[in-house]
């Protein structure tokens, strides 16, 4: 029973996120690319998306993040799963650069594409298939000896 409530809650959170993404324009490559095209058909809307999301999360996290290790637990889990990797290295900067190039070419980011799958637009499926291929190839490369070093899975 609690398992079902947990899944319904998560479905509702996904729905909220998806509506936010669709309403904001983050799932519309024309809008995303225009945001970055300051020298051309600039559309500054995405500043409001990032600003609204960041300020809301910043305030909300103050209430829900644990102040100490044992202070509280989430509603449906025994503990918090916060990223522990703190290293600022070539992998982080290189990965972020490659992501940025891809985002600039396609106009979709993962958080934009996943809700947009529900529109049925074929381009979203083409992008998502390539995204999954990239993730799987990256995972394969990461497990080869020359790349092996301590790190967590993608957050």
């Amino acid at each position: 029973m609690s398992g079902l409530i947990r899944l319904i809650t998560l479905y509702a959170i996904g729905l909220l996120f998806g509506i936010g993404i669709m309403l904001s324009g983050m799932a519309n490559p024309a809008k995303v690319l225009n945001f970055f095209d300051v020298a051309g058909t600039w559309d500054p809307s995405l500043i409001f998306v990032m600003g609204g999301a960041l300020i809301t999360t910043l305030i909300g996290y103050r209430f829900v993040l644990p102040r100490s290790e044992s202070a509280a637990t989430p509603l449906f889990d025994k503990r918090f799963h916060l990223p522990t990797n703190r290293s600022i290295d070539a992998k982080l900067v290189g990965g972020a650069t490659v992501f940025g190039i891809g985002w600039g070419l396609a106009g979709f980011c993962p958080g934009g594409a996943l809700p947009a799958l529900g529109t049925g637009v074929p381009a979203v499926y083409i992008f998502t298939a390539a995204l999954i291929a990239g993730l799987l190839v990256a995972r394969f490369l990461a497990h080869r000896p020359f790349m092996r070093q301590p790190s967590g899975r993608a957050a």
Binding site: S24, A30, P44, A133, R139, A154
Partner: protein, 145 residues
Amino acid sequence: MTIITPFTPWASLAGGILIGLASVLLMRSLGRIMGATGILSGFLMPLSREDWAWRAALLAGMATAPVVMMIATGSMPAVQVPVSTAMLLVGGFLVGLGVFFGGGCTSGHGVCGMARLSPRSFVATLTFMIATGVTVFVVRHVVGG
């Protein structure tokens, strides 16, 4: 090909606030970061049945959002694609590689990580925003211009 899009500060702000609310609720419910990359990776390569189930529920919620909006408003939210299939394929592949090694994307680093004041996320977000801006400039004004 370039499509002119209207400036939509209110819809974008409202959408941003909903994205933020969902991120806060996920932290409250499961103690996890609302990062599309991490959620998708774990869905594709699950650690356990339970771990897979919540990711599937979350992704199902995301993907039904356009349908719910269609029912509520009578029109599907716009997805206009001003790039070729080749750019979608190459771009998608690079996004997959990049977010794996970079440890996150716009939602994970740009919203949740920055909201946790993580220096790592600040560096990642600044880096990909610059890389995206340069790429768009090169595609539209150097190669295509």
